[in-house]
Symmetry: C2
Subunit: 187 residues, 2 copies
C-alpha cells in the first residue's frame, strides 16, 4: 500500500437536499498536485440492498421509477438504514415495504461501493431467505411491482431492457456463488 | 411497464467542474407528487471498464487513489471514452494507460448503471484477452500498481481490504459466467 496523498485543502463547493460536493487539493507522494471532486451523500447511516430468495433458484426483483435514468427499472429491494437500526433489521424492513415479504433468515454478506473514485457511499448486502408475506407501508410514491430472476440466468440481465444496476448484479452473483459453495445451488 | 410520471418542472440546482444536480418535480400516474434530485455527470461520451484476462483463470486489477473513499483501491482498469472514440478502442487505450497491456481481442459485453435511482451514468463493459505489453502515458497523477484476481476466488473480493467497487465485481462475475458458458472456465 502506497503513502496516501496529502490533502492540501478541502472545500465544500456545492450543497443540495441530497448531495454535497467537496473539492480536494491533493499532493501525491511523487510531488504531483491535482484537484479532485468527491460526492458526499446525505445518507448518514448507510444503505442496504437485499437479495431475497423465494427459493434457492430464484430471487425477488422490484420495479421502481428511477430519477437518474428517468425510467422504470428492475433492481433489488434497497433503501436507507434508519437511525438506531441495525443492518439486518433495515434489510427486513425494506423487504417488507418494497416487496411485501419478511424473512425468517437474514445474513450480512459484506459491503460494496458505488464508484470509489468520486463517491464515498457504501451499501450493505443482505441475503434473505425463508420468506413470508408481510407488507409495511414505505415512503414510495406508488406501490412497487415485484418480479423474479432465476439465479441460473443472471448473465441475461445485462441485456434486460429494464435492468441496469451494477451493484445489484454483483449482489446476485455473489449470493449465487455463496449458495453454490454451500451446496445449495448447482455449480 | 407503467406510465412514466409527468415531469412538472426541471431545474439545475448545482453545478461544479465534474457534477451537475438537477431537481425534478414529478407527478406519478396515481396523482402523487414528489421532488427528486438527479446527478448528471459531465462525462458526455460515457465510460468504459475492462475485464482484462491474463489467461482464462485470472484478470488484471489496478490500484489507484480514490477521492471518494479517500484511500487506494483495487478495481478494474476504467476511464472516460474520448470524443470520436469507439468503445473497444477506449477500452484498449485505458488498458494500455493504466495496466501497461494492449489486447488482441476485445468484446463488448453490455452496459451497467451506477445507481439508477439518482444517477444517469452508464459504463460499458469490455472483455479483453490475448494481451501483450504496451504502455501509453495517461492522465493519472502517478503510475498505477497492477495486481491479479483469480476468477475462481471472486467471492473473496467482498472481504478484500482494498476492493469495494460493485460494478467491477459484477463485471468480473459476468465475465467468469460467460467464459464458463463457452467452456473456457470450469463451472
Amino acid at each position: 500500500m502506497r503513502h496516501k496523498p496529502e490533502v492540501l485543502a478541502r472545500n465544500l463547493i456545492a450543497s443540495t437536499r441530497l448531495f454535497r460536493v467537496e473539492e480536494l487539493q491533493l499532493k501525491f507522494s511523487n510531488g504531483v498536485e491535482r484537484t479532485y471532486e468527491r460526492l458526499i451523500s446525505r445518507a448518514g447511516y448507510g444503505a442496504v440492498m437485499v437479495i431475497a430468495l423465494e427459493n434457492f433458484e430464484r430471487a425477488i426483483l422490484v420495479e421502481e421509477y428511477c430519477g437518474g435514468t428517468e425510467r422504470y427499472e428492475l433492481s433489488l429491494p434497497k433503501g436507507l438504514i434508519e437511525p438506531g437500526e441495525d443492518v439486518l433489521a433495515a434489510a427486513n424492513r425494506e423487504l417488507k415495504e418494497e416487496a411485501g415479504f419478511g424473512a425468517k433468515n437474514l445474513e450480512h454478506l459484506g459491503e460494496l461501493s458505488l464508484s470509489p473514485g468520486y463517491m464515498g457511499q457504501k451499501i450493505q448486502l443482505v441475503l434473505a431467505w425463508d420468506l413470508y408475506p408481510e407488507h409495511l407501508p414505505g415512503d414510495e410514491p406508488e406501490p412497487l411491482r415485484i418480479d423474479y430472476i432465476q439465479l441460473k440466468e443472471l448473465s441475461q440481465l445485462i441485456h434486460h431492457p429494464s435492468f441496469s444496476e451494477g451493484r445489484a448484479l454483483a449482489a446476485l452473483y455473489l449470493a449465487r456463488d455463496l449458495l453454490s459453495q454451500r451446496g445449495l445451488f448447482p455449480s
